[in-house]
């Protein structure tokens, strides 16, 4: 088809759509891009929602603050970046400073207590020992999935089963189980807070 004319119905009550904007902030090598892709994959393929994942690259391959945005909605996602984050999860001090303003009032801020020290006046910060948990599971490389699990457990933006499927789809078989453990550790930690 050369041309597709959208029905007017397409243009009705778009504002009714429910959309979650999730941002991961960190530094090259921490796997936050992977975290974002896992979340988006789980939403778009296994939860049947609409999802877009984007990331910002700096010139540094290492050492610069970078971010990954995931937008999840029940309607097609047009603008692919976070405008006001519902959830901001950060694993790097510079990233905390740079992206903190993008969290909407009342949004969920999650940090790794070992890697980030929030400003004194920063209220309602959820600090979790993601790195420690990952180390206890055998490798700090799983830190990204621990915090991802926490986001999932906290927000239910996607189902745990879909996350597991996403992990199985993307990751090498030999590290799948480890990462499912990391995921569940994050989820249970979130739920044990009893916040969600």
């Amino acid at each position: 088809m050369k041309r597709s004319a959208a029905k007017m119905s397409d243009t009705k009550n778009v504002s009714a759509s429910t959309t979650s904007q999730v941002r991961f902030g960190g530094v090259g090598g921490q796997g936050i891009v992977l975290a974002g892709r896992l979340l988006g994959l789980a939403a778009a393929i296994f939860d049947g929602k609409e999802a877009v994942c984007t990331q910002s690259y700096g010139p540094e391959a290492r050492g610069g603050a970078s971010k990954t945005d995931v937008i999840i909605s029940d309607k097609p996602v047009d603008y692919p970046f976070v405008i006001e984050a519902d959830v901001l999860a950060v694993l790097f001090q510079e990233a905390y400073v740079k992206f903190r303003p993008s969290l909407k009032a009342g949004g969920t801020l999650i940090i790794d207590t070992e890697l980030v020290t929030p400003a004194e006046d920063d209220k309602d910060v959820i600090g979790i020992p993601a790195t420690k948990i990952a180390e206890n599971l055998g490798t700090r490389l799983a830190t990204n999935v621990v915090i991802l699990g926490y986001v999932v457990g906290k927000t239910n933006v996607v189902s745990r089963d879909s996350m597991v499927e996403a992990i199985r789809t993307i990751m090498k078989p030999k590290i799948v189980d480890l990462n499912i453990k990391a995921l569940d550790a994050g989820i249970s930690l979130a739920q044990s807070d009893g916040v969600s």
Binding site: G29, G58, P59, E60, A61, R62, G63, G64
Partner: protein
């Protein structure tokens, strides 16, 4: 004589050579364990030691991680386009022969896309000092193989290992007419610095290949681990042979641990420099 104490300086301040660097731009963007910073550092020391007015030193770079070198040098410095650092520098050197022009760029920039300018600048014997930082791959774009990647070494565009025969850069430089040709590694920092000084003294086309670790891209792809591990390879396998006559045999094989890597100052001759 007192015992040593140690002084922890605040971030702003101040390495003794900082005046030759754009210190306000430090720390630079290069990865931990990357050898390019050591090259920048050595070039700064060479400027200081050259006895040439700092204002008469010019640094030109191309594109890539090594291409960022010019941006950190506190001399007149130009960050040109990919592969074109040499003709850009030729324009400066030919128009103002009183300037001491050093080109610092990467293997991909100088020998892949820039290869034609390299052989013609050497052929003409243009009065330039070229420091070719060879990290065996394209670092800035994430670790693609290039014309210096040893056969069998892996990169994102050669997942099963490079199959192309790489350039032997000292041989290429000699065969095309360079009057000074050397190969060192960033671990051989003193000899490397001496080589830069020699190239600054000489009139004509001087070519120095310096091997530098790229832990993030090349190292990771080839299980070399971090920058220190690549430095250890240099330490274990480099053999110094100044004036080596068999340049055609100086191919680098990083993979085969039995192969040594020959480094040294290989060529130092006189030939009519290019003065159009």
């Amino acid at each position: 004589m007192t015992v040593t104490e140690q002084i922890i300086h605040p971030a702003a301040n101040l390495h003794p050579i900082d005046h030759l660097l754009r210190a306000d731009r430090l720390p630079h963007i290069l990865c931990p364990g990357c050898g390019i910073g050591t090259v920048i550092h050595a070039y700064a020391h060479a400027i200081a030691g050259s006895g040439i007015d700092e204002d008469k030193h010019v640094c030109v770079s191309g594109i890539g991680c090594s291409g960022r070198a010019a941006g950190y040098m506190n001399v007149d410095s130009y960050h040109s386009t990919h592969g074109r650092a040499l003709p850009f520098a030729l324009g400066i050197a030919v128009y103002k022969p009183e300037l001491n022009v050093t080109v610092i760029s990467g293997d991909g920039d100088l020998t892949a896309i820039g290869g034609n300018h390299l052989i013609h600048a050497a052929r003409r014997n243009v009065n330039l000092n070229v420091i070719c930082i060879n990290n065996f791959n394209y670092g800035m774009t994430g670790g693609q193989v290039g014309p210096t990647t040893p056969i069998g070494a892996k990169g994102t565009t050669a997942p099963n290992g490079a199959v192309e025969h790489p350039f032997n850069l000292p041989y290429l430089a000699k065969a095309t007419g360079a009057v000074f040709v050397a190969r060192w590694t960033v671990l051989h920092v003193r000899e490397f610095q001496e080589a830069i000084l020699r190239s600054m003294e000489k009139t004509g086309f001087c070519f120095i290949e310096v091997l530098a670790p790229c832990p993030t891209s090349f190292g990771r792809a080839n299980n070399i681990g971090d920058g220190l591990h690549e430095m250890e390879i240099y330490r274990e396998r480099c053999r110094i042979e100044n004036g080596a006559s068999n340049l055609e045999e100086l191919d680098i094989d990083l993979i085969d641990e039995s192969k040594s890597i020959t480094v040294g100052n290989f060529v130092d001759i006189e030939r009519t420099p290019f003065t159009p």
